[in-house]
Amino acid sequence: MVEVKSLSFGETFGYKGLMDVKSLYKMIDKWFKDHGYDKVELNNYDEVYEDGKQLRLKLRPFKKISDYAKVEI
């Protein structure tokens, strides 16, 4: 059976204000690639309104360390 060990629990980061979502996503995607993680984008939910967008994203990048263990963020 698979054994999962959580090393960190629900770390959050909040921000309100002007931001460049495209660049933020690009940076996250690139960071994971540069650090050898495999991409897993489980969910991408876009809601478009007249005055803006709401975006929900679930990323689960992982890295295989050996034949028996992998790390997931």
């Binding site: 979502v21 690139k30 991409k39 897993v40 489980l42 991408n44 939910y45 876009d46 994203l57």
Partner: protein
Amino acid sequence: MSLDVKDITQQLEIRYKGIYNLDGLYKMMRSWLDAQRYDYMEKRYKDKVGGPFGNELEIEMRPELKVTEFIKFHIEVDTHMWEVKEFEAEIDGQKKLVTDGRFFIKLRCWIEFDYQGRFKTDFQKALLKFMITKVLKRYFEIKWYDRLKYDLYKFHAEIKKFLKCETEFNAY
């Protein structure tokens, strides 16, 4: 009988709500698959007309690509659209047909080995499974599983690009 390997990557999902170009989205998906030389197959096209909020549309695509005489890539695209309402809108001074509603697109992929069924006896099948899942596992992972996975992510990124999502970038 062939051997299928299904745990290449997890299912990817795009959900969208708002105004989009349904015709353009369908054409883009078709043309991307054609450009990558996938044989396009459509398992289901269901258009349910007459709901109070608009049509309901289900499209299940099953493109496949014969990579070698032994390996076949499969991509599964399930789309389900609700409240499909088409109307004319003026975009950049031109009248265009756009669609309002919400939908999801689910993407999966898997590889079929020995699709021609050359390994017939039980011993041959067991040997095939042993070779693919144990002896040559790394070789197939690096050479073929990754290729299909990146194909799927490219397709995923193309769809997001078409929908003008903020997350259209793909580093892989």
